[in-house]
Symmetry: C2
Amino acid sequence: MTLEYLSQNKAFGGDQFVLSHQSETTGTEMTFSVYVPPHAQGAKLPVLWYLSGLTCTHANVTEKGEYRAACAEHGVIFVAPDTSPRGDDVPDAKDEYDFGKGAGFYVDATQQPWSKHYRMRSYIEEELPALVAANFPADMTRQGITGHSMGGHGALITALRNPDRFRSVSAFAPIVAPAKVPWGEKALSRYLGDDRDAWRAYDAVALIEDGARLDNLLVDQGTADNFLEEQLKTGLLSMACAKAGIPADIRMWEGYDHSYYFISTFLGEHLAWHAERLGK
Amino acid sequence: MTLEYLSQNKAFGGDQFVLSHQSETTGTEMTFSVYVPPHAQGAKLPVLWYLSGLTCTHANVTEKGEYRAACAEHGVIFVAPDTSPRGDDVPDAKDEYDFGKGAGFYVDATQQPWSKHYRMRSYIEEELPALVAANFPADMTRQGITGHSMGGHGALITALRNPDRFRSVSAFAPIVAPAKVPWGEKALSRYLGDDRDAWRAYDAVALIEDGARLDNLLVDQGTADNFLEEQLKTGLLSMACAKAGIPADIRMWEGYDHSYYFISTFLGEHLAWHAERLGK
């Protein structure tokens, strides 16, 4: 697999890369960003994955996330994938911001016409980690994962399905139970079909109900987030974790909304929290 | 003067505002951003002005500058104006990124057709400070100024012309001698006419040669900045400051370029430096 380096910018003593490659999984060109902090030659560094929300690409968090200072301080590599396949060949839902391009929901679609390209689960779980491991000074035994909104959903389900891979899991304003909210019902029914049992592998609360566990979890959620009541339903995650004995620190922040102003306020704290669990 | 609040987002315990108003100076609607950090009720806070570079609006630094953490830590209000008048009535130079809209160069134009709207000097020196003083908890006896590229030029000339207003002055990759470089020669000849004597009030090195002084100055410049040799010419500022006895800390940073990856790396340090001179 050949990586194309689209840009490289020095920041906080390290390097912010934006890269693309021809993905075998999605059958498209995929773009992602990687920040490599300053480090001793030959050192292997822990990796934090950041999965983005609806309408986003790698660029939103790369430009607005304010994570590089903390990555440099704690010596953590930061990887930000795209949220869906892209390109003229990829089917889309015109005028729908919450489905199709920019809205892959981190699933492997089983339904036509989505199943050919919309394979973000396999892309995030298999192809991209192999690419990162092969091209950056990453210690793949020390991985954490986080994300925002649809990407918070992605972080939760990816961690719940791969308990041995991630030592630390956090999320910002995640969609915690997509099978029970409009964004998720639209996406899962179209990508996976009408059989709701097939949705449970892509629903954090359902995965916990079905026995999946996490060793730790940090969630930040703003009280002024317009999507809290209808789409995010943080309370369902709190209840599921309590019932399952998952030690979850779910913090509600007065006055914060769904934007990167919220994420950037707390992403540095998440970095420190992950770094503590990933080791220096 | 009526301020319209376009957005308000909580961040780092304070509020990031984006606002617009009908400017008497430029005869246009002008947009700017203000970050107000958390503070005790009734407190008056020092103000740091940030002037942006070519092609930018208030939005670039607001989204990519990573200044809010340091503003919150040091208790500093951060104001980011636009770089030119905007609107369909405002004459522009089509297909020229370095002149017209987005390229006001912080001058009061004297030449047709620019002189009606391109009055960024008076806007930044008079109208906008009055607006900020009237609407935010700003202590206008404690102001600092900084900026990037064309905005670094703006910060330097504004401070050199108003020595009693600014207690602290810094810049990122400033255009230090616009009269001697292509960007500046194009802009100053069109805005001000061919008499180069009229340009000296808008050229930091010329202002210093003509007797203007600063009590302090911090400049950061990347060595991998594509514009360094032809447009920025940091060395001319170093020489002018040395000759004039201005205590200037001009730092060259190996491998950093002209982008917000560079600015965001050092803007927190600039905030701390300004805060020290502005008082808590």
